[in-house]
Symmetry: C2
Subunit: 126 residues, 2 copies
DNA sequence: CAAAATAGTTACCTGTATGTAAGTAACTAA
DNA sequence: TTAGTTACTTACATACAGGTAACTATTTTG
């Protein structure tokens, strides 16, 4: 972010930094893609869907996604309370790009892991 | 990564975790996109292009990208030494997806920032 | 002899993102 | 009165990604 509009940084560089700043954390993208996949979800449903996220990080990440207008939060003032989270249009507009990346991963991650092994051998045994 | 092939996790979820594990760091994507943009580059050229990366993180990130077969490293044994980094085909195949994300950022980041402000007001004075 | 240049390596330190565990409100059911 | 439910909040702890700065090898130049 810092060196945007300074010497070397073009649009692309700057946009990528924004993406990384906003979505480089551990859970945002995963929550967006989960909501995109299953539609509306309650807090505990999301918690179970994702499986290994802590309550705290789920709350924190949902809040920041809501603040940025990527998801909407609807509270039904019942007892016990019910809250439903859903992607907004803005959030949904990000989905296809995430899915493209996931597709790329499916297609190429095996190759990457093999390269990594080869490299380890080259370095390890010269 | 942990809960892939456990209960709730489908392909998508799992692929996204792989992407985040591999490319969620601060510099990998930026280096790939820089190399994609300018082509072959030397160590110090990259350092200056990016501007605010430390020598250490440039070395570390270049090494791991090389290990995964995303970039190639060519050493010319001159004095002083010259080293050139370049995207491999595998690395190049990731470029369009990165650019799609960058484009999305250009188009929507302003809206996100506005939402964030609104939300801060709602919370702060609501 | 000293300085400069390239492409790093190494030791050390710190901030922050994340995790853990307990607490909260409000009500229901036994 | 005890436990259970939902959707959190809060306090506390920590690991690791990343930063800083010094050091390295090798040769040319002055």
């Amino acid at each position: 972010m810092k060196n945007c509009n300074e010497k070397k940084s073009e649009h692309l560089n700057c946009s990528i930094r924004q993406i990384l700043d906003r979505f480089g954390d551990k859970w945002s993208i995963l929550i967006i893609s989960t909501l995109g996949h299953v539609g509306k979800q309650r807090f505990n449903e999301l918690n179970q869907q994702i499986g290994d996220i802590s309550q705290k990080m789920l709350t924190v990440t949902l809040r920041s996604l809501e603040a940025d207008g990527l998801i909407s939060r609807t509270l039904y003032p019942e007892i016990p309370p019910r809250v439903e989270y859903e992607l907004t249009d803005l959030g949904r507009s990000l989905l296809p790009h995430i899915e493209q990346l996931a597709l790329w991963a499916e297609q190429h991650m095996e190759a990457i892991l093999k390269n990594r092994e080869k490299y380890a051998h080259r370095v390890g045994f010269g």
